[in-house]
């Protein structure tokens, strides 16, 4: 999802920077500005791609595992019975691409089980499944 954002924003920013620099300091500065923006966009795109590839989740019988992170690897295991509620959000960019983010909340503030960039149907399926499983295995605090 972020990848597409970068892909869209990169050329636009490049053109703007090039035109601005070209008007202000001549044509060569404009070309240099476009090159800088292109390299930056490429780098950010690469980082985001790594991030995207590192993000994975698996539904096991009793718990959900979410792993993520490139520099700092994180693996979260959240038992279904400990789930307080499931949150599905979709920001403006996500809505354009018909994507959504599913997040599990437990009573612990530190739990972080967030799965971004799911297809909308998959997000709805996951939400319903998690809610059902959570209800079936619910445990008190």
């Amino acid at each position: 999802m972020r990848l597409t954002q970068v892909a869209a924003a990169g050329p636009v920013l490049g053109v703007i920077a090039g035109v601005a620099a070209g008007l202000w300091a001549g044509a060569w500065a404009g070309v240099a500005a476009v090159a800088v923006v292109a390299v930056a966009a490429g780098f950010v795109g690469w980082v985001e791609r790594r991030r995207y590839l590192a993000w994975a989740y698996r539904e096991r019988d009793e718990d959900l595992i979410v792993s993520r992170g490139v520099l700092v690897r994180r693996i979260s295991v959240v038992p279904y019975g400990r789930m307080q509620f499931v949150e599905v959000t979709a920001g403006p960019f996500e809505r354009v691409f018909r994507l959504a983010t599913v997040q599990l909340h437990t009573a612990a503030a530190a739990s972080d089980a967030r799965i971004p960039g799911l297809e909308r149907d998959e997000a709805a399926r996951l939400r319903d499944r998690l809610a059902t499983l959570g209800e079936a295995r619910a445990a008190g605090l």
């Binding site: 718990d63 520099l71 690897r73 693996i75 038992p79 019975g81 612990a108 445990a139 605090l141």
Partner: protein, 450 residues
């Protein structure tokens, strides 16, 4: 909206104390009022101040005309309190406590007894003089003021607490309050000494700043003095509050939970059912180490609040403000069970990643409990029963990956209850993650089955 169904309630109200007596210790049915004097106590501090000012000006100036508005404010406070008393009522409805309040905006709360996390009996100084007490009922995630019944007579508060706690344990609400067994009393001298020792670095820093400022710029003396004086005053007040809040600290156990009593002028009696304890933390600040002192804090699910003072919020409570290691171990055993796992140290290479905390790092777990030790200057030990685990996480930063280390976190409900198996071997950490998840599930199933 403003009319209050007084006609429906007044008959029961008039009889409620007698009803309670005849029911053999249980709280009577029907709607109850708070004590009529409660409005006076709520407004007490402001009221006494205003009356004081009025009297002072009457004596010194011989005229009261200028200060008439203070009387009006005082009268307003009393009337507000009276109205609040008039519109507030409570009732036991099976296994639910219902509290209704509010004149313009009616607020009706239902507190299911099975969801109660802790019950506190708070007695501010004025309330103690009048023989009254406030009952503060803590639920996970509930608001602050609404779940407070202020004020009831002491006997009524005790009866209602017994009823609520019996309901919390799923017993017949009429069960009388079980006898309690005193465990530990903290001597006053130790409370004062330990509190002063903890405040000492701050006072020291303040003195250093004061001396430095005065010697560097002699002319600054007045300005610096007033500012620093204010800060010092704040520190003194805080220290005083901590001493009075922890004075006479006693811990007792009874079948319905751990009972903590504390306070010099205002007293608080907290009751935490054993099953509601999420985690216990043991802390050993640097300056306490020569005396072998430590303190214990219990984490209870609820809204974050202040740690100390008579109005302490939920979440964390001192189980032992200061004590020696034997007492602490004994209390941990009482609260969480005596099956304490053995601790193992992380591999030597972890020193490269955590040079400042390596000397403390240790962790261990068995089938029922996880224990972890962390900290740089202040040693912190977390005891966590596995059925309380909300989620398990593994994190591995870049340095840890180079050293093939990883940390495993176990989260309990709340913001701070959190055990870290810091810098374990990476391959073992992955196994530990799954093992903790499995053990926690088994412990949870065993608990719900038993």
């Amino acid at each position: 909206m403003t009319e209050h169904p007084e006609d429906a309630t007044s008959p029961e109200d008039a009889q409620s104390p007698e009803d309670a007596q005849s029911a053999g210790g249980a709280v009577g049915v029907g709607w109850h009022r708070l004590h009529p004097l409660s409005s006076l106590i709520s407004a007490g501090r402001v009221l006494s101040g205003l009356v004081g000012i009025f009297a002072l000006s009457l004596v010194t100036a011989g005229s009261y005309k200028h200060d008439l508005y203070q009387l009006i404010v005082a009268a307003g406070l009393v009337v507000t309190g009276l109205v609040r008393w008039l519109v507030t009522r409570w009732k036991l409805d099976g296994a639910t406590l219902r509290i209704e309040t509010g004149l313009l905006r009616r607020d009706s709360r239902q507190l299911p007894m099975t969801r109660i996390q802790a019950v506190d009996v708070e007695r501010p100084f004025l309330a103690r003089i009048l023989g009254l007490a406030a009952l503060h009922i803590r639920l996970a995630g509930a608001g602050k003021e609404g779940d407070r019944l202020a004020y009831l007579t002491v006997g009524e508060a005790a009866r209602l607490r017994a009823t609520l706690l019996a309901g919390q344990h799923g017993l017949d609400p009429a069960t009388p309050e079980p006898a309690e067994l005193p465990v530990i009393a903290v001597p006053a001298g130790r409370v004062i000494g330990a509190t002063l020792l903890r405040a000492a670095p701050r006072f020291g820093a303040l003195a250093v700043i004061a001396v430095a400022a005065v010697t560097a710029v002699p002319g600054i003396f007045l300005a610096a003095e007033s500012t620093l004086g204010l800060i010092a005053l704040g520190l003194v007040t805080r220290t005083w509050q901590q001493v009075t809040g922890r004075y006479g600290f006693r811990v007792a156990t009874s079948p319905d939970g751990i009972r903590i009593r504390r306070g010099l002028l205002s007293t608080v009696a907290e009751t935490i059912p054993f099953r509601r304890v999420q985690a216990v933390r043991l802390e050993q600040p640097l300056l306490w180490r020569p005396f072998g002192w430590c303190r214990l804090v219990v984490d209870v699910a609820g809204v974050a609040g202040r740690d100390s003072g008579p109005k302490a919020g939920g979440l964390t409570r001192a189980l032992l403000p200061v004590g020696d290691m034997n007492e602490a171990q004994h209390l941990v055993g009482l609260v969480l069970g005596h099956d304490i796992p053995e601790l193992t140290r992380p591999p030597k290479r972890a020193r490269l990643k955590a040079p400042l905390s390596y000397h403390f790092l240790a962790a261990g777990h068995n089938r029922v409990m996880a224990v972890t030790v962390t900290g740089r200057v202040c040693q912190k030990t977390v005891y966590l029963r596995l059925e309380k685990l909300q989620s398990v996480r593994l994190t591995q930063g870049p340095v840890q990956r180079k050293l093939s280390l990883a940390s495993v976190h176990g989260d309990a409900a709340g913001r701070r209850a959190h055990a870290v198996f810091s810098d374990r071997q990476a391959d073992q950490a992955r196994g530990l993650l799954d093992e903790l998840a499995d053990l926690s599930r088994n412990a949870r199933n065993a608990e719900s089955a038993g």
